[in-house]
């Protein structure tokens, strides 16, 4: 440790700074902020990929580590991160295989059911992950996440690689799955488009801090400069109605 210090000048960057919030079961909170505002570090801490310096993450009032399967994280471009040699069935069934709760026949049956739920043709279960289109691969990633029986899905810029019509279709699917399974969502994005149609609450992050936590309907009236910058930029780059439909 001392040797490292002697080699390089080190100074600390606070990625997260005393972040506090709660998410009600069955609801969606969007976490928005510019690149580098700490959104992904927060997602990784909640999913248990990153150990926070201080503070706690509780899922259903239990320490997060003990209920890690209840939380599933879907990354940006998750579709391309799927093992290209896996068939659709392998992709969706693997979390069940790892948890070891079902036999092969039940795993297959549930995987096909999940494929149908996310709008994929269950008949295509033997196709390789790579043979699906970008939007379909994203659906596979959602089916795979659902296979772990999560209660909370964290989507970290999960839709950023898709074009806008596909993003809207995916959000439509996620809304349906939410009412079907009572899922809770943390939806992380730098972009406000569709947010008013998808989330109940919005948390705005800036330089590692939560600067606002408010109902989505209040977003446009915010007086915080970080929020205003995001709202103004959304209005500039999106067609009317896409960004903050009131």
């Amino acid at each position: 440790m001392s040797r490292k210090k002697s080699l390089a000048k080190a100074f600390s960057v606070r990625a997260l700074d005393q972040v506090e919030f709660a998410l009600e079961a069955g609801t969606t909170t969007a976490i928005i902020g510019r690149s580098g505002s700490g959104k992904s570090t927060l997602a990784r801490c909640i999913a248990g990929f990153e150990k926070p310096d201080t503070g706690s993450v509780e899922i259903h009032a239990k320490e997060a580590e003990k209920s890690s399967r209840a939380v599933q994280l879907i990354f940006q471009d998750a579709g391309s991160a799927l093992n290209p040699r896996f068939t659709a069935l392998d992709v969706v069934a693997e979390p069940m295989l790892i948890s070891g709760q079902l036999n092969a026949a039940d795993r297959k049956q549930r995987a096909l059911h999940l494929m149908a739920e996310v709008g994929l043709d269950p008949e295509s279960y033997l196709r390789k992950a790579l043979e699906f289109s970008g939007g379909q691969r994203q659906r596979l990633a959602v089916a795979r996440a659902l296979a772990a029986n999560p209660q909370l899905l964290i989507m970290d810029e999960s839709l950023a690689g898709l074009d806008l019509p596909l993003q809207a279709q995916m959000l439509r699917l996620l809304l349906d799955l939410q009412s079907l399974h009572g899922l809770s969502y943390l939806y992380i994005s730098h972009d406000l488009n569709f947010i008013s149609l998808f989330a109940e609450n919005v948390i705005v992050m800036d330089q590692g801090r939560i600067v606002e936590d408010l109902p989505v309907s209040m977003l446009a009236q915010s007086s915080h400069p970080a929020t205003q910058a995001l709202v103004a930029a959304g209005e500039r780059v999106h067609a009317a109605g896409v960004e903050v439909a009131q």
Partner: protein
């Protein structure tokens, strides 16, 4: 039409297809006609896989080897598809410039920004080092760098995504081209940076009398910039006009691009604001997730003058 009239760029009956390793033929563009006048901005709007990027690559003759091209592309009456390498060199970067989605890939990681811009200028203009330097300073200030000298010495990885895109724009425009092709230039940037780059391109368009082909899947960015929009589907133009004209379209594909939020509504779905109340009562007090006093630091080190992030709490 006046018989002497010639558009800046004329694309006629352009077809592009790719031969796959298995011998199959995948069509990317089928019979595309497109004209761009001097100083005109044409937006090309399409979903993923609609053939948008094949267009820019065909115009610059930069399609991969397995591509088959038919049709005509002329720039100021000069035929591009049959042009020799010398004419092509003059066109590329000199008359027609390209900026792409990911400037990190467009810029060479081992050369300073200054060197890369200099390479473009050297290839097209013979200038003294003093006037080159003045041109750099001016161009970099134009794309919004208040301290050009620092940027000229910087390497791409030392810049943020937005700064890299500004540098790529400076490189594209340093020779004063007449046509800028922008292929999804905002997609890799956060929204606030997107708005800044969009403002920058809008300003440079008037300042430098640029014609543009602006390729995107987001109709919103075209609203203030484009004079005309062409909608591509499966390699074919299926509609064109101004944004307000296209908004009247009843074609589901066009509507999906112009009003993607409509895809979010259906019989069972309601906006979140009206869904909220019911579900909130049912699962009132107990939150599923509670985050308390969460802090996380990363150690940033300078190694060879470059920032490196490491895990903060456990060195080693």
């Amino acid at each position: 039409m006046d018989s002497t009239y010639a558009p800046l760029l004329r694309v006629a009956g352009l077809r592009v297809a790719y031969r796959t390793a298995g011998g199959a033929r995948v069509s990317a563009l089928r019979s595309l006609d497109l004209e761009v006048a001097e100083r005109e901005v044409v937006g090309v709007l399409g979903a993923s896989g609609s053939g948008k990027s094949s267009l820019t690559q065909a115009v610059l003759r930069m399609l991969p080897r397995n591509a088959e091209v038919e049709g005509q592309i002329s720039f100021r009456r000069q035929e591009i598809l049959t042009a020799g390498s010398r004419e092509l060199r003059n066109l590329r970067g000199g008359e027609i410039a390209l900026i792409s989605q990911e400037p990190a890939l467009a810029l060479n990681p081992v050369l300073s920004i200054g060197r890369q811009i200099d390479d473009v200028l050297n290839a097209h203009r013979s200038l003294s080092s003093q006037s080159r330097k003045e041109k750099f300073q001016l161009m970099l200030r134009d794309v919004g760098f208040p301290d050009p000298d620092r940027i000229l010495r910087a390497y791409p990885h030392q810049l943020s995504g937005g700064q890299r895109q500004r540098a790529a724009i400076a490189q594209a425009l340093i020779c004063g081209p007449s046509l800028l092709m922008a292929d999804e230039p905002l997609s890799a940037l956060d929204t606030v940076t997107q708005a800044e780059i969009l403002d920058l391109l809008t300003r440079l368009k008037s300042q430098m009398n640029l014609a543009m082909i602006f390729i995107t899947h987001n109709a919103g960015v075209l609203s203030a910039l484009a004079d005309r929009i062409v909608v591509l589907r499966d390699g074919e133009p299926i509609a064109s006009g101004s944004l307000p004209q296209l908004r009247l379209s009843s074609d589901p594909y066009v509507r999906g691009l112009l009003c993607p939020q409509e895809n979010l509504f259906s019989s069972s779905a309601k906006p979140a604001s009206s869904r909220g109340a019911g579900s909130r009562d049912e699962c009132s007090a107990q939150p599923i997730l509670r985050v308390r006093n969460l802090s996380k630091s990363f150690v940033q080190k300078k190694v060879f003058g470059q920032s490196v992030f490491c895990k903060g709490t456990r060195p080693g």
